[in-house]
Symmetry: D2
Subunit: 427 residues, 4 copies
């Protein structure tokens, strides 16, 4: 059902986000979707780039808007490979794909073994306002939308639209994160890419004439990963978060009595959350807990929370390699100096970084970008045509870092070996 | 003392914020300054413009950077009216001028009679990390910086730089708020204005050749006020906040036992905060309290918190006038209908809006923008020279609004008079 | 007839200009339209703002694109007041409205009594490639398009779209001229304005909710006129042009034999051009003539051409008033000093400036911007609702300038009165 | 000598260009420098990207401004490796480095064997206004500036600043060409790069911490070359120019009497130009000649000029390879069909394209970008550290194109072989 009059949201990236369907409007107004205003899009990156305070709410609207524009282009050109009845399910999946993100997702997911995709589906399917809105379309509509998230929807093009190598998600976040951080890397020609996307054989492909715009997009992505998403200062703040969650969980499991504790934590620690308790977890809540815990009796928890809230991060040094021997040597040095290697030391090796690189491949899968030649007869995988994409395909900047609390380490310098001091650039 | 090497912050508005002084660097790293990351620059405006999630931390860095650029220009041109020894005190005051802002300042200040300027001074002067850093410059340096905030510093030009009609504060927030909301109104030519500022007779004046850039700045300001800062949706969300704070205070004073309560609240409610407890108040804390209070026994408090957290705001209608008679009539209608006019109804009249308009005046004060003629002989107040500034000087868009919870009012429509329904555009 | 595939032009203002109709494509490829590449959009403004080298070709594509977007919005919303059969005629008129502009139009039109609107119609109707393309639509199509330019087309909304107070022409040139000069004044929210335009009672009106965007557009226009279009340095260069054309015409009419002369000039001087000879006049041609005339025997013509080509412009002073007495006094001073007041002196008074101001009026005409209230019942003229538009309506910055060749005047300073020297700020 | 007051030019790329030295101001006002307003920065690219109408005048100011900013940074940091007395010579060389460019340089240089670098030096050293201004600094100052252009100046860092792998020339043109064409590829973080440049051992090097900004710059350059500078439509228009110059020269040398001819051509054809006649050659002049030649008796010259002025370019097809056999085959086909392969056919092979690629190398030369490690002890060539630069180093997109006049070729299709028709995609 269409709204009587189109509604718009003012947006710095897309200028306006246009809403025409009542279902979309109602979904945006659910409490579960509004909660995304309290989850930052880039987690702790705001501690590196102070402008990066934007929320997943903004990003989700942006993903919806890009999807809307792609579909509207498909329909304006009467492209036969696109089924109009897939429009609403695709738009809903685009809007809701991140609704299951928890506070500081990457760190909390590691500590508590939760997965935001699972939570997205639970929020669509359990007893939530979102489910109620979706059910007004049809009783099985919540399941339909969830199947797009789970990549099991019977029409592969819908899945490919929402999570493929040129999906609306990635296009929005590169542009948005570049805008809010203020870096220049993330800009590419979105209009051009949208103009050359075509539905073809159950996937979204690119007209060959748009190859250069796609090259530019992939180079932006490469730069954003290494300059923004994996910035060592951001890694350092994520590390603190991980340590905090880990410590709090250990304490809880060991029967420690917290001075400050609020109900939603119990469900989290005991791993028995439902959708309703889950959506109470937001970054305001986590920060407030940390603020209180700065005065906890457990000195490790208190210290970690103070460091996070006051941004006294661990320092990092880049080293040429990190093998088991070197790591073991440092751990022993730490113990000798009275430091705890499980909290006062961390090694970051490239294979740990979730780099969403574009990889060429001999057997094209749905994760490959396919070019459609002008005569519309054949699909060719992008790196076959593009020298520059072939050059950077699979390229992985493997830097090794050691993180540690400089203030504490400086105090024990006399006990450390010369080699260690040299490696850590202590002076 | 200068840093061994200049440090920079990447910033979307100024591209980079440059830090050269150790004192500035240390101030930024205090916990009191880091707390500003958890206070939004535009309070609840993010509920109207979803991009407006930027913090006072970002803005404070921006104000510092603009001040630094103005002073550096003064010094590069060896302008005699500027005393180099005022540099550091001006930079510190610029950086710290907002450090006393509480969560959702405008609303909380009304409810609890706190003033952020007072708190800024207390944070500079009480036992804080900021005070400790400032004291390293000289024992009376904290007082010096505070005197700039209080506008009592002996050199009026320092005060004028930090809070005058063309101060760094306003210039940064117009540009920054325009960028983050995505509106186009707030852009003006900052570089041009900075180039034409001159220290002259104890104030910052503008070279006459820069008049057009200043006109543009004032028009931007005019538009930002009415299009962004006083947007009725934002006013509606501030209203909810004010009601929540008011209700919670009433309950506390009446001895109500809150199910959910965290320590800093007590000091707030009892009006006996010191700087250390004050800085525990941030927006994460306030939102977490509201989240918990959604389940409070007091149904009014619970309702208001739910509305705020789920963004179910009061609706507004614009009306042609609002006099005491009409307001009284509506209050009575409310009571007849079983609604509480002190919580379910609100009138917004233009005189309540803190519009920081530029006003011409016959007797130029420090709040006037003065043009310095090319021959450097005379100062003329801007509106004397600029037709457009004279035209909009003091212009005040007086719209009258009524706010009310549409869902509840719709249920009592049968009891309301025809006139009321017509006025509120109920159908 | 639609093109098999949409064509695009990369454009800095609109990102892409989209062409879907074969007629539009063919018109762009005519030699008459291609000639616009050799006519600058802003005449001599590039001598003030070096970036302003953009052509009327770019601008014409922009006007077409904005018109296309407005119409496409009308049609997407199935607005009954818009007749789909008017689409092509409106697009062609938008594209071609400037095709009759000569080189440095404003100056040449004064000297030779030509009017670009007349020439636009002649180029549409005489034996040109453009006429041939238009005739392929229907035999009377050239006349239809011309009638839009002449404002006699039977459907007033088509005329209003191409030349009304919010027409595509003005919207494109404000944005484009701001972009190429690099000034910030000209930016407004084009997308927003396009979204709120409606066809209504034979004119293009604005939904009331878009009032602020229109205010912003009018303020941009005000600033662009006084900061860019009427910049005194640009006026000074136009003055030289006018003098050159005037001198050359005088010489021709007096039987002077030019050393350098190319065919199209003859038709121009003898006022017997047809469309084919007219389109040979472009700015390359005019500049080349001037370049040659730098070596003409007539020293006045040679001097003026040298000044223009080498940008040695007349200086200007702003004076408080210019009445007949003062002007006469200066002319006499000039004669006394052996200067020629008809070439070495010029007075610029505000009434000479073609300021396209927005004027409120009691009787709304097609030149007024009308707001359509939300209930779609009544039209109100903009300044009735907008304080700021009312304030600046009809506002005219009347500055008086005197222009003169500083180098020559300096040499005769001893002969000039003290008063004259003071007025002209000679030292 | 410094100006009494700094002067500025409004510039879309750098916002303002700042002039502080009288010498720079006077140079800008010479007729030789003003002539650059009539030479487009990108030659015929405006026929592909209509916005690219910007002049070498704008670009030259931009190169000057970037150089000024680099030097000012060197001096602000009191860097010892930079000699303050080199400032003015570097600024003059930066400003003037392009002053010898002729109209549509790339095409005219091929036809007439002129080199713009030679002409730059002649304009500095012959009897010009520029020479007169430079001599006011000191009698040998013109030679000093020329020696920077010729890369023989005794201080290699001055040469490296004006023409090195990270020189002000390239940085300005990438940003400026991207802005005026409207493409997104050319943007990189200029401020960041300027901040990390250091004078070191007679060259400009980059602090290692700025590596990513330099990577981004090189990727922009890569994209600009293949997407803008070597765009096949631009190549096609350059081809026409080359054919026109070649034909006119042949005719002149064979004693043909031109109907339309202006003095500067003679000197050009007879290869006996001096600086004064050279500067009369500008693009207005060339276009005016072409306009007249559209009516020349020689039908080939007339046809080529009509094609250029009316933008009826040769079409192109991309082919998989072009060896001597295939080219010879096509030339014979052309002759059979009555076409002239020396004017109606052109082959473009990658090795003809002057791609200014960044190449890594084992022996670092002045054309390599060197990183300075944080401890300031060693220089490392960029590609040793940067995976992505190593990947694209020397990468050359070798496409082969055939150009031909489609209208004429279509008419002789029956005579052409099936193979030819297939290769040229004729249908």
């Amino acid at each position: 059902m269409l709204l009587r009059e189109e509604k718009v949201f003012k947006d710095p990236i897309h200028n306006y986000v246009h809403v025409q369907d009542r279902t979309i409007w109602d979904l945006i107004n659910t409490r579960e979707f509004q909660r995304l205003r309290r989850i930052r899009q880039l987690g702790t990156s705001y501690l590196t780039f102070h402008g990066a305070e934007h929320s997943r709410f903004s990003h989700s609207l942006g993903v919806y808007e890009i999807t809307r524009r792609i579909i509207s282009q498909f329909e304006r050109h009467h492209l036969e490979e696109w089924a109009v009845e897939d429009r609403l399910v695709a738009l809903c999946a685009a809007l809701l794909h991140d609704v299951g993100h928890g506070p500081f997702s990457h760190s909390i997911e590691d500590a508590f073994q939760v997965h935001h995709e699972d939570w997205t589906c639970r929020i669509l399917l359990e007893d939530t306002h979102i489910r109620a809105v979706l059910e007004q379309v049809s009783p099985d509509f919540p399941e339909q939308v969830a199947s797009v998230i789970q990549k099991t929807h019977p029409h592969p093009i819908v899945v490919n639209l929402v999570s493929g190598p040129l999906d609306a998600d990635r296009m929005d976040y590169l542009l948005r994160d570049a805008y809010y951080t203020g870096v220049h890397y993330g800009t590419f020609d979105l209009d051009r890419i949208l103009r050359v996307l075509r539905p073809y054989q159950g996937r979204v492909v690119v007209k060959e004439s748009g190859m250069h715009a796609v090259e530019h997009y992939l180079m932006s992505r490469y730069q954003m990963y290494w300059q923004v998403y994996f910035h060592p200062v951001t890694r350092s703040s994520e590390l603190l978060l991980r340590f905090i969650f880990q410590r709090a969980k250990e304490l809880y499991e060991s029967g420690y009595r917290f001075r400050y504790f609020l109900p939603p934590l119990e469900a989290l620690f005991e791993n028995r959350m439902d959708a309703l308790s889950y959506i109470q977890l937001d970054e305001a809540f986590v920060q407030t807990m940390f603020m209180q815990w700065m005065n906890e009796e457990d000195s490790r928890l208190a210290e970690l929370c103070q460091r996070f809230m006051e941004r006294r991060l661990y320092k990092y040094v880049e080293v040429d390699y990190l093998d088991e021997e070197r790591m073991e040597y440092l751990r022993r040095q730490w113990i000798n100096a009275g430091l705890d290697p499980s909290y006062d030391l961390w090694f970051d090796v490239p294979t740990d970084m979730p780099y969403d690189v574009y990889r060429a491949g001999d057997k094209p899968t749905l994760q490959h970008i396919m070019l459609l030649s002008d005569y519309q007869q054949e699909l060719v995988e992008l790196s076959k045509k593009s020298d520059i994409v072939r050059s950077i395909s699979g390229l992985h900047r493997g830097k090794h870092y050691i993180y540690f609390p400089m203030d504490k380490v400086k105090q024990v310098m006399p006990v450390l070996s010369k080699e260690t001091c040299h490696l850590l650039k202590l002076t």
